[in-house]
Amino acid sequence: MSDFATLSDAFASRELWQIIALSLSVSLSATALAALMGLPLGAALAIWRFPGRAPIVFAANALFGLPPVVVGLALYLLLSHSGPFGFFDLLFTPEAMVLAQTALALPIVTALAHRAAAERWSEYGDALMDLGASRPRAVPTLIAMARIHMLTAVLAGFGRTVSEVGAIIIVGGNIAAYTRTMTTAIVLETSKGDLPLALGLGMVLIGLSVTISAVAFAVAGRSSW
């Protein structure tokens, strides 16, 4: 019971709500950026045939399993003050964490968007072109036609970002009240041996991520597709 008390203490503190807010804002920002780039890119890859298309599609699929810790390390070296982009002063900031998670989510969103768009394009592409749509105009059309699959792509990207710790702990530094998220707080509490609190935070994180997915599907489900 005393373990439960620690978690309820955590809930009563402003710190936990700050951590939750930062987790969500970093992961949602990264997901939004990845969606803004990945959905049109995925659709474009389905519509245009050009040399180099297949390698890009292959790369997007292959990078599903991009190791977060490697992304974090590479970004750390780029953003370090002794690295090429040190003058941006981005290391150990929430912005750096958004960059890292965007890099992780982008291949997933792109590959899944491409898969969905390619299916629709093979079915309706000719019809669209006959109706006089230009290829650039077909990009938003395809995204709209396959929107439930596009939503799945975006949620897969969100799942990737909200759950990862390897990249953000390196480029964010797990600084209290500044770059500490749910996942880095779980790592920290585990290292302090407070396993019940770490587990409790884990449950909160899972709850949040499930809620967001459910809300997204409920909203998408209401609009007809």
Binding site: G83, N174, A176
Partner: protein, 276 residues
Amino acid sequence: MCRLWCCLVAVVAFCANAQAADAPPPPTIVLASTTSVDNSGLLAAILPEFTKTTGITVRVLALGTGQALDTARRGDADIVLVHDPEAERKFIDEGYGVNQRQIAWNDFIVVGPGADPAHIAGSHDAVAAFTAIATAKASFVSRGDRSGTNALELRLWKRTGVDPKSGAGSWYKDIGGGMGAALNAAAGMPAYTLSDRGTWLSFKNKGPLKIVVEGDAALINRYDVIELNPQKHAGAKLAPAHWLAEWLSTKPGQDAIGAFRLGGEELFHPSAANPK
């Protein structure tokens, strides 16, 4: 084309605005510190006072000493608070650090399973205890992460004449992790490990572990603050970092360190006036 220009103007205006807003910067510095002073709650307890008197916000990176010094070497921290005399000397000799000051001390302890397979409980001799652990081939967890604690552990092994790597794969378990990870591992196996007292006292998953060796002069743990050399770190925020070093090593900071209690114990003994 017009829209492109609008975008450009907006971006330039935004940057200029950001610069103007930066003009009287509310200073924020990055302190690369060892994990023990952060995980034990010391920094969270004392830094708000510093921020209140000076307006300087301190962002704490809790790292092992080796990693903390490397972070400062790369120019990614403004000041360091660490506890490995040898690594610190190297850092200063290489020209990265200046003005090293001891701010507090406490001690290291050897913790191990209550069953005590190496029969060392109650000893005050760390080297003899390590020898007994190696002889008994009792499980020992090493941090293996170039932290201050790891450096002391390796110095102790050197004094025993035992090469712990000879036990790699069997009794000597190099886990390559922080103090908390090492204690979690030692509690789970169970195994002996070397810990700083601060992390041990605040650690909540002790399991079967108990303190087995303490009170050896070889186990003293000194915390030093080191400022960065302006010649090598032109970009660092050295002035506010200097204020932090001053504050930590003079009365207000020293009093705050001495007032910090964990479980009723004074965990860090202020020692700027009389370095140990």
